[in-house]
């Protein structure tokens, strides 16, 4: 049996795979910068819709959000990638990932932002309106800033999950970090590229995890 180091940190394999792994890491970062704004935009739209307190809107919105919370993102991705071409619609792996994330991630962001908006007392809106701000202005300058601050840990936690979820794009052949690592692994029959990819994800996301842990602990201390 070869040594642990030779198997999991094989320098030759890592050196050979480095260029494509680096490319994959950049792709993962780029993909995150695409899917997070998409999810946030969709989520904000959902949260704003939920402020319209109308029965005709409330139930369909809740059903929409629950639907995506119950639906595995990978299944959605495969459905778009392998199912839609049968209808003559070929979105390509990038288009599938963008749409899949918009649907899935925005539902989660929407739920968090809705909770945030609901956490701002009605008096804030009333006071803002009485100073002459329009409903939209009150929402934008008074309610939303407080809402976002109240649910900041949850927003960040969602963002962390969204970045991690980009690894699923490897299944539909989008050349991000995990995809490139698996390519390198299948060519060299050596798991080192996957270990390096894991390390890449960890180094990229550990600061965010630490920050989150602190924010969450502070939130709990505040509730005590």
């Amino acid at each position: 049996m070869p040594g642990i180091v030779e198997t999991f940190f094989n320098v030759e394999v890592i050196a050979a795979a480095w260029p494509i792994l680096w490319h994959g890491l950049l792709m993962t970062i780029g993909l995150s910068f695409l899917v997070i704004p998409l999810g946030l935009a969709g989520g904000t739209a959902l949260a704003l819709l939920s402020t319209v307190r109308h029965q005709l809107l409330r139930w369909p919105l809740m059903a929409w959000v629950d639907f995506w919370r119950a639906f595995p993102p990978l299944v959605l991705l495969i459905l778009l990638y392998a199912g839609l071409p049968f209808a003559g619609i070929d979105l390509g792996s990038f288009g599938c990932v963008a749409i899949g994330f918009l649907l899935n991630t925005s539902a989660y962001y929407g739920e968090v932002l809705r909770a945030g908006i609901e956490s701002v007392p009605a008096g804030q809106t009333e006071a803002a309106r009485s100073t002459g701000l329009s409903a939209l202005q009150a929402l934008r300058h008074v309610v939303l800033p407080q809402a976002v601050r109240n649910v900041l840990p949850d927003l960040l936690s969602n963002t962390l999950e969204a970045v991690k979820l980009t690894s699923v794009a490897s299944v539909v052949a989008l050349p991000e970090l995990l995809f490139e690592a698996r390519e390198a692994q299948s060519v060299t029959y050596n798991p080192s590229p996957i270990v390096v990819a894991a390390l890449g994800y960890f180094l990229l996301l550990w600061p965010l995890v630490r920050l989150l842990s602190r924010l969450e602990n502070r939130a709990i201390a505040g509730r005590r």
Binding site: D66, P72, I194, Y201, L204
Partner: protein, 226 residues
């Protein structure tokens, strides 16, 4: 043929659906089994680590925090692939089921530890002191006074997290676990028809939608009092 008929012919093809229904059902039970084992081991391990952390031993706590951080930062699919393709180098070849189960259990363990730990810290110190002063031991205080209060507030976040992680059982299709998605995908390639995918999607909804609705109920039932 109208547009709807053509759509139904392709995506809800009755022949194909009937032919692959048993395969999807067997996938459903594999998913169910996988999800149940993940929930069991993940939450049990998370609680065990949270209890160890409550003892307040500094070096042990650093170790626990590092492990929790590690499995919070790594994407589940990366862990699955790492275990599935990496372990054979040690001479053990885990099956796809074992790789998926262990990976997602580790992820759920990390999140559960964090949530339980937060719950335990949220119980005011006075509760500990009062319980100890009545003569209860450390373990008794934990079991009869602290945990009952801590667990109550951990239920909503834990439920949501558990749902999100067990949905990840679909990732098992990448390492050849014959769960719903994998059954549906192979049925699609065999039949050259996408209907099994829709059936698979429906199977996931049957499994997870009730849990999501239950989670919503739990959220309001056990909500923090603000």
């Amino acid at each position: 043929m109208s547009g709807w008929q053509r759509f139904a012919e392709i995506f809800l093809n009755a022949d194909v659906l009937a032919r692959y229904f048993p395969a999807i059902v067997s996938g459903f039970f594999v998913t169910l089994q996988l999800a149940a084992s993940i929930v069991l081991t993940g939450i049990a391990a998370g609680l065990a680590f949270a209890l160890m952390r409550s003892a307040g031993l500094r070096v042990l706590n650093w170790l626990i925090i590092f492990v929790v951080d590690l499995f919070r930062a790594l994407p589940p699919l990366v862990i699955i692939v790492l275990i599935y393709f990496g372990f054979p180098a040690f001479g053990v070849s885990p099956s796809g089921f074992v790789a998926t189960w262990s990976s997602l259990s580790l992820v759920l363990m990390a999140f559960a530890e964090e949530i339980f730990s937060a719950g335990i810290t949220a119980v005011p110190r006075g509760q500990w002191e009062a319980a100890r002063s009545t003569g209860l031991g450390y373990a008794q205080t934990l079991a009869y006074v602290v945990l009952p209060q801590a667990l109550r507030i951990t239920i909503p976040p834990l439920t949501n997290r558990t749902i999100a992680i067990t949905k990840g059982t679909a990732l098992g299709s990448v390492v050849a676990v014959s769960e719903i998605l994998s059954q549906a995908s192979s049925a699609v390639s065999l039949s050259a028809n996408p209907s099994p995918l829709l059936l698979g999607a429906a199977a996931y909804l049957v499994l997870f939608l009730p849990v999501v609705v239950f989670g919503r109920w739990v959220e309001t039932r056990f909500a923090w009092k603000r």
